[in-house]
Each structure stands twice: as C-alpha cells, then as structure tokens.
C-alpha cells in the first residue's frame, strides 16, 4: 500500500481541485448571483437584491412557452431514447447476432461525431424530405444524441450481471419475452434509470441541434436564452439559467434518493 502520494502530485491535485471549483462552479455562482440583481444590466457583483428578474421570467409568455417546449421535448426524448437505448444495449450485451460490433459502433457514433455536423445534416435532410422543421425533428435529433448515453449506462450494468441468468430463466419456464421482462430488465434497471436521467438532461440543455432546427413554433429554453442574449441582453437570462440549474439539481437529488448516485455514476 502506498503511504502517501509524492508532494508534487499532491500539489497538482490541489491545483486541479481549485481549477474545478473556479471554472465549473464559478460561472454557476456568477449566473445565480446576477439573477438576483435589482439593476437593469448584467453586472457582477449584482447591484442590490431582488427577485424582479425571476418575476419577469415566470410572467413572460416567451420564456414560459420555451420552458414548456423544452420540458415536453425532454420527456418524450427520455422515453424514446430509454426504450431504444435499453433495447440496443440488451442486444449488444448478448452479442449473439452477427454484426453486433458494427451495430455497437454505429449506435455510439453520435458520442464522437461533432454535433454540429449531425445537426447540419439533419437540417438538410429534414428540409429536403419534410419541409419546415418541427417538434418531431427536434425529438429525433435529441433522441439520436441521447441514445448512446443510455446504451453506455445500461451496458455498464449488464456487463457485471451473471450472463447465465437469462438462460436460467428459460429453464424455469420463462419464454424469451418473459425472461427479458422478469430478469434482464430488473437487472439493467439502475443503468436504464441513469441513462434516462442523462437523456433528460441532454435534451433539456441541448443547444446545437435546437439552434439549427429552430422555427418560430419550436424554441427551446436554451435557444430562448441565447436569442435574448443576442438581441436584448438583460438579467432575465441569468434568472432563466438559474432556474435551469435548479431543475437539474432537483433531478440529481431525486435520482440520488431513488437509486443512489454512486450506482448511477459508477
């Protein structure tokens, strides 16, 4: 057993920690700070303290419309990505079908491909065959991006499970579908839940595909924030962002309570 790390490594670790806090948590703190400003401009530190920008966001039909679009989108993307991802993971895990490795590479491709290329391709494809972009286009786009995460988390859990469980279920009278329902799905549940969580979050704050495929009818919250920033920046942006952060934190908290964050992350 190693007694202690060399001093240089320890110093590096401390620097790393400080950097994480500064660059990850710092911006969050700034955004949340700005959101409570009483002034009319985005300045940090905030001038005075008020909830007026929260009020502005919550009473704005534009913001609330975008938020509802984003939530609806995130929910349907979570459902579709979870079903597709969990099914694909089950098939890949068994590895009995020919071409499983090709399949697995194909489904994980969105992880490594630049999203901007995918977004552009989808826009061109959609315009050529379906005309105006719509909610359905965004749904498909987000699902494609989210599916690899569900596959990864489900596979991670399945790979540690007893590979004979499904066969055992068959010898106990369960047909192929019953074996999946009663044995494979309960086994994979922590991974599927983690994947669903990722899918929701990815869709909820996805910006590139949403930006390319936006139309006046489908503006998601991140796009609304971006548009506001571009054309008439005011602290409502910060308030809307703080609300998004809040939702994510609540979600993490719920997942932790229900599943344990360790199981989901590990």
């Amino acid at each position: 057993m190693v007694e202690s790390a060399p001093t240089s490594v320890r110093i590096a670790a401390v620097i790393y920690l400080v950097a994480i806090v500064a660059f990850v948590l710092g911006p969050l703190a700034v955004v949340v700070g700005v959101s409570f400003t009483a002034g009319d401009y985005i300045t940090f530190p905030p001038q005075g303290l008020s909830l007026r920008w929260y009020e502005a966001v919550l009473s704005s039909s534009v913001y609330m419309g975008a938020a509802i679009t984003s939530l609806k989108l995130a929910v349907v993307v979570t459902i579709s990505a979870t079903i597709i991802g969990a099914s694909v993971a089950t098939v890949i895990h068994r590895g009995r079908l020919p071409g499983t490795s090709v399949l697995s590479a194909l489904f994980l491709a969105p992880l490594v491909l630049p999203t901007i290329i995918f977004a552009l391709g989808l826009l061109i494809f959609w315009s050529a065959y379906f005309g105006r972009t719509s909610f359905a286009a965004l749904w498909i786009g987000h699902t494609v991006i989210a599916v690899p995460y569900v596959i990864r988390t489900t596979l991670a859990v399945l790979s540690t499970s007893d590979r004979y469980l499904e066969e055992a279920a068959r010898t106990m009278g369960a047909g192929p579908w019953k074996a999946i329902l009663h044995v494979v799905v309960p086994q994979a549940m922590p991974g599927i839940a983690a994947g669903a969580f990722f899918a929701f979050n990815i869709s909820f704050d996805e910006a590139i595909v949403s930006l390319f495929l936006r139309s006046p009818e489908v503006i998601t919250l991140p796009i609304q924030i971006y548009t506001q920033l571009e054309y008439s920046p005011d602290p409502s942006i910060a308030a809307a962002s703080a609300l998004m952060i809040g939702l994510t934190v609540v979600l993490i908290f719920v997942i932790d309570r229900v599943l344990g964050i360790q199981r989901v992350a590990g």
Partner: protein
C-alpha cells in the same frame, strides 16, 4: 418409459463437432453423471438436454415426449448452474417460487407453500426473505437446488454445482445431494470433471472423451475395470505398463522389458503388445525376496521414493524401467534403493484396449 432418451445426438459448432453420435437412455429416478475432462462435451450435452443448445442431428425425448425442437421453457426440466444463477433482485423465497410462477403451477398461496417445502428440504426455510447476495456460497447453492426441485421436473440437470465450493463444504453438499435424490426420487443428470464426485454420487457414470462415450457403467465397475487407457488414467490412482502379452496355461502372461513376468487371468491366444493396468492399492509389497522367492519367479522392484500419507505410505517403484505407484501400510518401511517383492493378484491386472 425413460425419463431421458437421446438417440444419435450430434452437435457441431461451425466445423468443430463437439458431440459425436451419442445415444443414451436414463431411467426414471436414476442418478447419472456425465464425467470427463474439459472440452469432452459433457456440459454441451447437458445444455442440449436443457434445450439451451440445439442438436445438429438426432432426437431427444424427455418424459417420453419428443423435445428435440422444443425451447427450454417448454421442456419439463430444471437446471442448477455452476454460478447458481440466482435472480439478485428477488428474495430467496421469490427465487424458489419463480419456476412455479413462470410455469403457472398453482395459485400464489400454493406456490408459496411449495417453495417453503422445497427450502425445508435444503434446510433454508429460515432465510426466505434474504437476498441472494446476503447468503454464503453454500447457501446460494442450496437455494439453487431448492429452486430446481420445486417444480418436480422430469429431469434435474446439474452443471458442476459443487465446483465453486471449498473442499469441506463440497463433501457435505455431496451427502446432501444423495439424500435429496433419495427423498425426491428425481431423475438427475450431473455434470462433473471430478471422478471421485461422479463415483460417490451416481448410480451410473458416463465417461465422455472427445464428444463420444468412452465407457459407461456403475461406479464400481468403471473404477475397477476401465476398458481403455483413457478411462484407466482418468479414473486415477492406477499403473499403466506397456508389455508383451503371451498365452500361458489357462490365462496369459505379460512380459516386461526387463524379462520379468506378470501373470494375468485373461485369456490371450496370440502374442501382442498391449497396455496392462493395476491399481496402486492392489499391489502388496514384501521385503527383499530370498532365493526361494526368486526361483518361483517373484516380481522384483526397487524403491525410487516414498511419500508419507498418514495411514499409508505411497512408494514409487522402478519395475523393469517402468515407474509404478503402490500403497503400503504405514507400519512397513522401505528405504530408497531397497529391493522389494511385488505381489499382484492376476485378478487385479487388466488388459486395456487402446
């Protein structure tokens, strides 16, 4: 009607034929072991009976019903896996109830009663609400056994169920399996690579080699009269010697390379080279022979090394250039290099087919 009937079963994976035309009948209530080294096809054969592997050719009948093309869930079988394959998200009781639920046997209350009864058989009815993870290896193993017997299948299939247990636990589980078999009367097929386990548990041992049945028979018969060189060496604690067989009186004799002679009971009309065998416990050692002994043709060997085993001592002897092993009572002692007389009854020496 046989519980299990295999007719001309073959199985190939790609170009490799792992099961070569095996036919086998297992009577109702019989305890049969499939024994052999790894890669002999014993597990594949068991999985074919279970329906987890399809047969390339041949037919499988289970309980008189042609099951060759049936999926596992439609065969009247139960299987205990080497890894036990307990469902981790279910309690012990739910695990044992699982086959009844899947096969829709009885209502919920009856399923519960049967599961508890099965757990009683393996003395685990006090742990019904535990999760498999919270059990020891031996306990998990017993849950797997209870789960397999709960639906009273036509045939119980066991795939090396004891190989993950430590030596002491394995012994006590062997005894429990024998008792369980007696209590339930279930037809049982047991796969193992451990010859002692096969000998001590089964009514009949099927020795497999390279996808074929090498030899089958009652444990005693297989142990004392192995027919082939493979069977003899796999059953263990045996001496194999290449010799020239010659007709001799009523029986035959084997001529060793140094000119010494062993008398055999078996008849051999013609001269031929063959492998003969005798077990290490069938040779009796006597102190260095005198001239009288030499004149009546006693067998002489010299001590190469001795290994103290407690109750007995194992001697490695040089018999005309062949290294052989013999067991002697602890009271006898011979030093390395001593000449000893070897007495082997002609009944204990067998000629092997190659």
């Amino acid at each position: 009607m046989n519980a299990v009937q295999l007719d001309n079963i073959s199985k190939s994976f790609g170009n490799v034929q792992v099961i070569k035309n095996i036919s086998l009948s297992i009577a109702k209530g019989e305890f049969v072991s499939l024994l052999g080294p790894s890669g002999c096809g014993k597990t594949t054969l068991l999985r074919m009976i279970a329906g987890l592997e399809g047969a390339t050719s041949g037919t499988i009948h289970i309980g008189g019903k042609d099951s060759t093309r049936l999926p596992p869930e439609l065969r009247d079988i139960a299987m205990v896996f080497q890894s036990y394959a307990l469902l981790p998200h279910l309690t012990v009781l739910e695990n044992v109830m699982f086959p009844l639920r899947m096969r829709k046997i009885g209502n919920r209350a009856e399923q519960r009663d049967r599961a508890v009864a099965a757990l009683k058989l393996v003395q685990l009815d006090h742990l019904t609400d535990r999760r498999p993870r919270a059990l020891s290896g031996g306990q998990q193993q017993r849950v797997a056994v209870a789960r397999a017997v709960v639906s009273s299948p036509q045939v119980l299939l066991l795939d090396e169920p004891l190989s993950n247990l430590d030596a002491r636990l394995r012994e006590s589980m062997q005894e429990e399996l024998i008792l369980l078999h007696r209590q339930t009367g279930l037809t049982t097929v047991f796969v193992t690579h451990d010859q002692e386990e096969a000998l001590s548990l089964s009514d009949r041992v099927i020795l497999l080699n390279g996808g074929r049945i090498e030899q089958e028979g009652a444990p005693k018969a297989l142990y004392s009269v192995p027919r082939t060189r493979f069977a003899a060496s796999f059953m263990g604690s045996t001496n194999l010697i290449d010799a020239e067989l010659q007709p001799h009186g009523d029986g035959a004799r084997a001529l060793l390379s140094d000119g010494q002679v062993l008398l055999l009971r078996a008849k051999h009309s013609a001269k031929k080279r063959a492998t003969i065998m005798f077990r290490q416990e069938d040779a009796i050692l006597a102190p260095e022979p005198d001239n009288a002994a030499l004149s009546r043709g006693a067998l002489i060997a010299s001590v190469v090394t001795q290994i103290f085993l407690g109750a007995r001592t194992r001697y490695v002897l040089d018999l005309g250039g062949h290294m052989i092993r013999c067991l002697a009572p602890a009271g006898q002692f011979y030093a390395v290099g001593d000449k000893v007389e070897l007495k082997i009854s002609p009944d204990s020496i067998h000629v092997l087919e190659d």
